[in-house]
Symmetry: C2
Subunit: 258 residues, 2 copies
């Protein structure tokens, strides 16, 4: 079905280069791996696929989906795929796609419920947070510049397609809040007031801090409300996982007022 | 400070054996790695440390903690530690400890809020769920027999000390519910009634399903209430991560009634 068979030196070099953030930014491209997510990417236009590397059996099974992408398909053996995969378990397919620029800037925020991630470093957490944002219909996930790269392979895998649907932007919290002074800014901290029983707004920004150090001091100053999730008295935990905390705060903000 | 220096063949064999569930069960021992968690384990008696493998600098820094454990300490070089570590980033210390038997059976349940995990397979999810249980003061985490082993290295790492505080038991849901017919059983499913606005009890069992297939059919029959977390209409996600969902349901059950 595809005219190009085998992994050329140049294509291999290109795929391996895209494992680095710098090269992803240079080419404005990133890689998605795996059957389900690849099929999602081939069915949309926001992140156009540039190249599709797949085994002959995957190509055979997905003929229909590939119809409009024929000139982009390269047939690889499983061992060739393994050479360019960033996963430990080899996959049947790997897609190179454009990074979509959501073109959101500080003045252009949706007035819905949004997240601001202050230095989320763990790729698994970042991907899971994008999934949560997708689930709850969060309008935008804003990231500080020291967050893990959104297009890193582990983030894309953990996000499971949410990357296609959740608008993201890299922006300082200062810029975002200065341009939207009436938008309420909630920060999740360990010593804030209990989130339970508060009347939470439908629209607002929820700031989530880094896994280890929480929200940066300069960003703490920009919060309007500091909120916490009460722990059990006997708990020995100092904090919850950042993605779990994000899920809980989103669920509580989305809870209809009694 | 320690009399024993270097990694003997037998000790190496023992440590590597403990990476398998079968051997952990045979010896009733497991391994914790890393500075913070090792210090937690050396300060408690529920899971008594049997052997402590550490670099000389770690031993020097933690003299006080090691005072009561002197005969258990083995000094290793960093490269020796690397040979027996199950982590990619080498650590300064590794502790072999007894597996504590919480001696809970079906008739002996606390009447508080408990979790039942139906086939949680991902070690990161399991560890994160134990952290959540610790945070919310969950009375017991019950596991079906097909859950990932609680004492697997990745679970212990992700649990970050919660394993010391959260009672766990492996038990069938049938046995648990038959022995406690008045305990309300809530199952988290995709097509249940919205959890929002329900009057949730302070005591009860929350059943969490497997990452892919959810709650097993035979366990679905045992539920008294099927509850769901509503997603946004435009969401493309089929489900939330199992640990995130657990955190959200625990937070909602712990929310004081308005």
């Amino acid at each position: 079905m595809s005219d190009v068979i085998g992994l050329s030196k140049n294509k291999k070099k290109y795929l391996l280069a895209l494992q680095s953030k710098k090269q992803r930014q240079k080419y404005n491209k990133f890689v998605v791996e795996g059957d389900k997510i690849a099929r999602e990417f081939l069915s949309q236009n926001l992140f156009p696929p540039e190249l599709i590397f797949a085994t002959s059996s995957w190509i055979e099974t997905n003929k229909k989906l590939l119809k409009v992408h024929l000139n982009k398909v390269v047939t690889l053996s499983e061992s060739e795929l393994k050479q360019v995969s960033s996963l430990t378990t080899p996959n049947q397919v790997l897609v190179v796609a454009d990074i979509h620029s959501w073109a959101l800037d500080a003045k252009d925020v949706s007035k819905g419920l949004a997240l601001y991630l202050d230095g989320i470093r763990d790729p698994g957490n970042m991907g899971t947070i994008l999934r949560i944002a997708d689930w709850f219909g969060i309008s935008t996930v804003y990231c500080s510049s020291d967050c893990v790269d959104l297009y890193m392979s582990k983030v894309v895998q953990a996000a499971m397609g949410a990357i296609l649907r959740v608008p993201t932007a890299i922006l300082s919290l200062e810029e975002l809040t200065q341009s939207n002074p009436e938008w309420p800014v909630y920060g999740t901290v360990l010593d804030g007031s209990s989130v339970y029983g508060q009347s939470l707004p439908e629209a607002g920004l929820i700031v989530i801090g880094n896994e280890g150090r929480g929200i940066k001091p300069e960003n703490l100053k920009l919060l309007h409300h500091k909120i916490s999730l009460p722990s059990a008295q006997e708990s020995g935990m100092e904090s919850l996982n950042a993605a779990v905390a994000t899920g809980i705060f989103c669920a509580l903000f989305r809870q209809p007022n009694a």
